[in-house]
């Protein structure tokens, strides 16, 4: 899976919980939850969706490592099997 494909998965999941947003405008280092006003339930839904799409296991203790677009992309790429 390429970085672009990972991005596409992330954008798709973000669109599901925040339909009116344009994830492409998201700054790479912006806190996603703050920038898109996503609550903890919706954020968990995004992580579940990404787990389904990529197969990457995301333990709860790592949630904090996926808070921005850049770190989220990096985390998923590093843990892809």
């Amino acid at each position: 899976m390429t970085e672009q494909e990972v991005h596409a998965h992330i954008f798709a999941e973000l669109k599901k919980v925040a339909p009116e947003c344009d994830p492409a405008e998201l700054a790479p280092d912006a806190n996603i939850r703050e920038a898109l006003d996503i609550d903890s339930f919706s954020f968990l839904r995004v992580l579940v969706g990404l787990h389904d799409a990529t197969g990457v296991e995301i333990p709860e203790s790592d949630y904090g490592k996926l808070s921005t677009l850049a770190t989220m992309t990096g985390y998923l790429l590093a843990h892809l099997s």
Binding site: A18, P19, E20, R33, D37, D39, S40, F41, S42, L44, R45, L47, V48, H51, E57, I58, P59, E60, S61
Partner: protein, 404 residues
Amino acid sequence: MGEFRMPSLGADMETGKLVEWLVTPGQRVKRGDIVALVETQKGLFEIEVFEDGIMGEPLIAAGQTVPVGTVLARIDTGAAKAAAAEMRAEPVAGKASEPASTITPQKTAPQQQAISSERVACSPSARRLALELGVDLATVRGSGPHGAIQRSDIEAAAHATAQATAAPPEPKAAGIEPTAAQTTESRMRQAIAAAVSRANREIPHYYLATEIDLSRPLQWLEAENNKRSIRERILPVVLLLKATAKALRDVPQLNGFWLDDRLQVQSDIHIGFAIALRTGGLISPAIHHVDRLQLGELMQALADLIERTRVGRLRGSEVSNATVSVTNLGDRGVQTVFGVIYPPQVALIGLGKIGERPWAENGMLGVRRCVTATLAADHRATDGHQGALFLEALNRHLQKPEVL
């Protein structure tokens, strides 16, 4: 013979519009079946029946707006075994045999034109979208199975209308949509305004706050979540909700309604959980019997409720029968919530952000993860002493997460 009435979907609701019948006369229904769609200021809701039986002829046609409590149809509850055909033969006051759905749709207000009284195959979410965008369902051709109208059809129709009506000198293509959205938003705002005005006018609130050390429950939860797949993991707010329900069992005076100048304690604990809508406004649908749900079940119930609230698929009972409310603003960094009670309820529990704080105990200073829990309560129904007992019970239950 049972009666199916226009339900009250909130303290501020006086009338409701019967948008569509989802059952036909003579059809057998079970308690909990969704039989009609009703529109209020807060949106479109799926309405259930509370009895088993056979639906009679509708007394109110789709498209009509009637006061809360109006009988919409009768339900034969006694002779649930009786043949459906016999039921249809039963005379219904003033309606004769003419099918109610042939009543002429009003042609005047554009608001009423938005929904045709004819039966149109259309999902509630598409119907809601049509209302928001001001699209008349009768003019939309459905592309779904059996010609059912889907959200995409509504969007396409709204887009076509927007293009057709856009004045040439106005290059702003998106100009139409915000106006349509504003009306839903302003109606929602009016509904909220009515409820909170009544709360502030009638309810003498008192407020209590307490700091709760969550270190132990959160440690327990982290260990528990380690054993669970990502799909089954539980969020901290679920512990707080369950502990709230248990504390309400200890102090039942906070779980109920102030009606007819007296407190009417409710034995069921249905927590209204405030959910902000992305389009603005909020709805507090009820999670039923929170005290009886396992933590995993409660997490699923909450996730399901949030999802359905945001796509407009709530049931009538969920917006009408909460016995107490919880507002969680911790996600947005708020430390302390000073709530407004939703009448006729008598209490609202506010939850702030869970975060590290300095914590002094036994002469030692440490860093603990804490939350500020607040109680806004109706002083007509309870006194500060009972409120204090509740917050104490909330803390006590939270410190034993393994038995929550």
